[in-house]
Amino acid sequence: MIKVLFFAGLREQLGCDALDVDAADIASIAQLRTRLAGKDAAWQSALASEQLQVAVNQRLATMHADVKDGDEVAFFPPVTGG
């Protein structure tokens, strides 16, 4: 399983803060994103944002990053702390 987290505006858009995704057939963030976007139109729209950022195991990553069983992946909008 891959643990997937969503934060801030994205979390609200999806109405979901976390879910588990079967790691079979998923080797990259891009594949994970495609799988999630396939759930329905709302997910497709929310995950289509070019500004979307991703972290793998709590470190910022790119959409090309590898992902494997047991990883924690988080999607979120650009950060606005400070």
């Binding site: 987290l5 709590q58 910022l60 988080a74 650009p78 950060v79 702390g81 400070g82």
Partner: protein
């Protein structure tokens, strides 16, 4: 000598005066201390009579809600502080970032650096703030007075651009 780095991600408030004393305590090697504090703003440059209180840019902010990614927030701030300590000869680095609901005037973030050199302390403080703004997983939502839902603050290109100078 490695810098002493301390990072806190917390709901509670903090006292910049106390943080200053902690940066200085038994610290005779560093003659320079730089600090930055970010507070919740609350201002209404244009507030027409009778208009609803809005939570968008430039209007009155009653409450700021700060969401964060627990775990990653701490490690991202620690990573940024370590990068600063590798780049400049720092004695101590202190970073605090709050989460949860904050009212106007309250402290959100504290960055403090001490060094034997003023430029190192000042540059490291600015560097940490710049990277924190664009790399640490915190998100601000402005909730207007009386408003039920809020407005997510949008990231600014100028914040991303600020990283280029380092």
């Amino acid at each position: 000598m490695a810098a002493i780095i301390s990072v806190s991600v917390q709901a509670e408030g903090f006292d910049p005066g106390e943080e200053y004393r902690s940066l200085r305590s038994e610290n005779f090697a560093d003659g320079a201390t730089a600090m930055f504090v970010g507070n919740v703003r609350d201002f209404s440059p244009i507030e027409p009579v009778g208009s609803p209180v809005e939570n968008s840019k430039g209007n009155s902010v009653a409450v700021l809600e700060l969401e964060h990614y627990p775990g990653m927030a701490e490690s991202a701030l620690t990573d940024i502080a370590r990068q600063a300590a590798q780049r400049w000869p720092l004695g101590r680095v202190r970073v605090i970032h709050r989460f949860g609901q904050l009212r106007a005037g309250e402290e959100i973030v504290f960055v403090g650096t001490s060094s034997a050199h003023r430029q190192a302390a000042l540059d490291a403080c600015a560097f940490i703030m710049d990277f924190l703004k664009s790399r640490a997983p915190f998100w601000k939502k402005e909730i207007g007075q009386g408003a039920e839902s809020g407005h997510w603050v949008q990231a600014r290109h100028s914040d991303e651009d600020a990283l280029k100078k380092w």
